[in-house]
Structures are given as structure tokens and as C-alpha cells.
């Protein structure tokens, strides 16, 4: 069974601060996706990374896939209240069926004024 551990579990910061969320596993993944979920809604995809060492930027969000494809990070610069939500990483398996994702434990972010 592949497991993805996210840290921290909870993060409460003020507007303008920077933060990093980590997603770690002992397993290798073929790809890594990051989703954001707002209260009362389903998760929405932010980004997909597929190559070890890959870095992708989405405005103030920077995503990195580890060289060994076992871990990933999400860095937010100058956080805003609109960034508040539950952030989930999800890994695609490196072997066997590519149908299923393994979701991480989640990081709940609150950004206050």
C-alpha cells in the first residue's frame, strides 16, 4: 500500500507570509498532482508534475517534484485569504494499473487578514 504523508496538518498564517507544504512517501510515483478543496466543494486540480526534479509555477504557487519521485512540495509566496482551503497531494502509481490515485492526508491552510 502506497502512503502519502503531508506536513504540516494545519497551518494558520497572516496575509503576506510565505509557506511550504510537504508531501512525502517511501514509494515512487509516476506523477504527482496537487488539489485544493474549499468547504462544501470537491477538490479541484492545481497542477500535475511528472518528471523527477520538475518545478512548475502557478502565479504565487510553486510546485516541485522530488528527484526520486517520492516527494513533492508546494510553496506559496505572499499568501492571501483566497488561498485558504485544504491542500491535497495525490500520487499516480509507478507500476501496475494507472487508474488509481493515492491521496495524501491533507494540509488545512487558513490565511487571515
Amino acid at each position: 500500500t502506497q502512503l502519502l504523508e503531508q506536513s504540516p496538518q494545519f497551518l494558520s498564517i497572516q496575509e503576506g507570509e510565505n509557506l511550504t507544504v510537504y508531501c512525502n512517501s517511501s514509494s515512487v510515483f509516476s506523477s504527482l498532482q496537487w488539489y485544493r478543496q474549499e468547504p462544501g466543494e470537491g477538490p479541484v486540480l492545481l497542477v500535475t508534475v511528472v518528471t523527477g526534479g520538475e518545478v512548475k509555477k502557478l502565479k504565487r504557487l510553486t510546485f516541485q517534484f522530488g528527484d526520486a519521485r517520492k516527494d513533492s512540495s508546494l510553496h506559496i509566496t505572499a499568501a492571501q485569504p483566497g488561498d485558504t482551503g485544504l491542500y491535497l497531494c495525490a500520487g499516480g502509481p509507478s507500476t501496475g494499473t494507472a487508474s488509481k490515485l493515492t491521496f495524501g492526508t491533507g494540509t488545512r491552510l487558513q490565511v487571515t487578514l
Partner: protein
């Protein structure tokens, strides 16, 4: 522009009752998934389907059943509701390639008392 539609949005059941959670998608996606999300946690896969007529168990299938008679619909059945099945249930669909995003419905919040 419906995407993935789940009904009902909320439901309260008594222990031992049965019900079906409905999920339909209009994107002609072959892959469909059912997850449960317990408070403050990530997503756990219950069942999934890679196409009409094909279903398979996920991580936590006990107490649930599914069917996939059409591409559009993927209902989830609870036969004998138990308090441990109190959760928020999400249905998702995905296009063919494994790196494509999963598109989620807004969830069904189910309480079993």
C-alpha cells in the same frame, strides 16, 4: 457545463437502512471513482470503474456496492448503514490518460444515527 453531479447533497439515515448515492457525469469519461472523506482527512477510495460494465474495489470497499451500466452513471449503494459510514462521499471522473485531472462532484454529506 454540469461536469460531475451528485445527489442528494445531504442525507440522514438510521442504522440498518439502505440508500443509493447517485453520480452522473456528462464529459464522456471512462474512469469513475467513489471516495469517502472523514473530517479533516484526505480521500479514501471505495470503488472505481474503468468503463461501463467494469468495477473494482478500492482501499475501503466493505459495506458498499457499485454498478456501472452506462458511461454516465456510477451509483454507490449502502445496504446496511452503520455509524462508521458517516462521512462525506465524493464521486469523480477522469478522461483516459493517467495524468489527466480527476473532476469531482460537490459531495454527499451522509450521517448515520
Amino acid at each position: 457545463n454540469a461536469g460531475v453531479t451528485q445527489t442528494p447533497k445531504f442525507r440522514i439515515l438510521k442504522i440498518g437502512q439502505s440508500m443509493t448515492l447517485q453520480c452522473t457525469q456528462d464529459m464522456n469519461h471512462n474512469y469513475m471513482y467513489w471516495y469517502r472523506q472523514d473530517p479533516g482527512m484526505g480521500l479514501k477510495l471505495i470503488y472505481y470503474s474503468v468503463g461501463a460494465g467494469i468495477t473494482d474495489k478500492g482501499e475501503v470497499p466493505n459495506g458498499y456496492n457499485v454498478s456501472r451500466s452506462t458511461t454516465e452513471d456510477f451509483p454507490l449503494r449502502l445496504e446496511l448503514a452503520a455509524p462508521s459510514q458517516t462521512s462525506v462521499y465524493f464521486c469523480a471522473s477522469r478522461a483516459g490518460q493517467s495524468n489527466q485531472p480527476q473532476h469531482f462532484g460537490d459531495g454527499t454529506r451522509l450521517s448515520i444515527l
